[in-house]
Amino acid sequence: MPETKSRKIILTGIGASPGICIGKAYLVDKEGVEVVGRYYIEPDQIEQEVKRFKAAVKKVRDELRAIIENTPKEFLTPTSILETQEVLLKDKMLYGKTIDTIENESVNAEWALKKVVTKARETFQAMSDSYLKERVADIVQLSERIMHNLVGAVPVDIGKIAKRVILVAPDLSPAETSQIQLERIKGFVTDKGGKASHTGILARSLEIPAVLGLKTATMEIKNEDLMIVDGSAGIVIIDPSEQQLIDYEERKIEYEQHKAEISRRSQAPAETLDGHRLAVLGNIERSEQVTSVLDYGGQGIGLYRTEFQYMGRTDFPTEEELYEKYSETVEVASPRPVTIRTLDINGDKYIAAQGSYEEQNPALGLRGIRYCLQRPDVFRTQLRAILRAAVHGNVSVMFPMVATLREVLAAKQAVREAAESLAQDKILYSDRISLGVLVEVPSAVMMADLLADEVDFFSVGTNDLIQYTLAIDRGNEKVAHLFRPLDPAILRMLKHLTDVAKEKNIQLFICGEMAGYPIHIPILMGMGMDGLSVNPQSIPSVKHMIRSIKKQDTEALAAEALKLRSAEKVFQMLQSNYKEILEEIGQRKQ
């Protein structure tokens, strides 16, 4: 067959995430690990061999830890997968048995590990439950990572993929998928895995087409091969014909139109049946996400988290790097507003070069505005970048973790100084920005009247406000169920904030997760919020809710809710009042 002719190979697998994509293949394989030799260890060297194995495990553990710590909070679910892997790493059946094998059979660590994993694989494959069957992949992936560290092979760094590609791999571990630059990936194709695999879950949550469990994909597909991935039908076509390309291009458009149909309705204004409007904005953490907020019908960016650029590196980002991303975000969103939250983490913890130290209570420790005020150099770099980006559009800045008035005054002073230094350096900037407080510490609620005199707006970060008010660590499974946005204590706080905002004539937004649930909207609206900022995917259902209700009703409802004695009672009242609309939204989501 002449090489110019298309091969038109069709592979059928499991459609794990719907959608169609056409693009070039990028192959990730794990060469150099398959060949594991066996050799015997002299009795006096066995202890050394066990140590070598333990060191390799520790390295994998450290790698996992680093990934977990560098993963933004928003991806908590994949992180818990990683955490399970961390426990699995020290599992007696894996860790203990490998050490036993080295000791009892006097063999090298690689061979012992391979033997243990092969045994585990056989046990799991004999199982009938498909979910459990797939769990063997976790063990195999972990052992591959350990193996890499034993033989010193360097794994392919998926984080460095620079092109828009279709990722083809034997399988992807959670650690690997969490490192992928997702905006670069058009689709996923793997030999192993099914709908319940990590790759499948990830692809669906990101709305990226995926065909998994193709068995021979990595053998059939070569790097740079042109291919079509139909995640709805579970088909991959390698080297498609002209006609196939045309057909699939059409199907792709059809599918996207169908998706657009859902989000089109969300482009309509968020106006209640009695003609009141509520601003609905989006939360983002990377400049690339602006377009998805706009696509879903967001009226701007209500929360731009800026931590991402500080993660996974050994030095602080420069003013230029920050400016580049901020201005990109502001330009794309313009004329819509962009609210930038200044650094909310303890930067030193993330920047390895600074040397980290442990805090016993990080949630109550050095973070947010506290950290920034202790590191004026880091803060100034960020503020200068923001002021410069403000030239390109409509920018607001808000300070996280404010607990005292003094902090707001100091932060405002820092903004003034950053502006002055830019003026001195003759660099173009704009100081026509609104300043706000991210209200998430209970003391800020109590001090709201004084804080309001100093800023243009408040934005309520409900996640932390609930955590600090009810003293609930949501990551702690023993108390997580007590984390309730509708708790009367929280509602009273919100009421207090709306009263202060009205009296002081400043704007009040809510940007916590609470605002992303349609059931909470009537209460938030009834209390008198000026706007909501939610995750991009939640925008359509939130807007739908707003368009289905009357402001007048919500005011009476909010007043009623404030009289109730428990979160359950409030929830029940909302459920019974808005049952039909909530059901409708639930159906539309599918």
Binding site: S80, I81, E83, T84, V87, L88, D91, K92, M93, L94, G96, A120, T123, F124, M127, S128, D129, Y131, L132, R135, D138, I139, E477, A480, H481
Partner: protein, 81 residues
């Protein structure tokens, strides 16, 4: 009785393993005639406990009784899923 939808899977087994790790001696989880080490995720997964499966927890060292209760509570609560 395992009540959560997915049964005893990797994450839930991980939660059990974390508790069992605090024990003085091995804590066992049994289903029918087979038993597994509650400190090992892999061992527990091999029990293939799906929703509706009845399991029993026991400790080698009587001093670990409180941990047995905690694991039982965790399982009965459906792992708060």
């Amino acid at each position: 009785m395992i009540v959560n939808e997915l049964g005893l899977h990797a994450r839930t087994a991980g939660l059990i393993a974390r508790i069992a790790a605090q024990a003085r001696d091995t804590v066992w989880i049994g289903r029918g005639n087979s038993t597994a080490d509650a400190g090992s995720i892999i061992d527990m997964l091999t029990l293939e406990c799906t929703k509706g499966t009845r399991v029993n927890i026991s400790a080698t060292d009587p001093a670990d009784g409180a941990l047995v209760d905690r694991i039982a509570q965790l399982i009965n609560s459906g792992f708060k899923e």
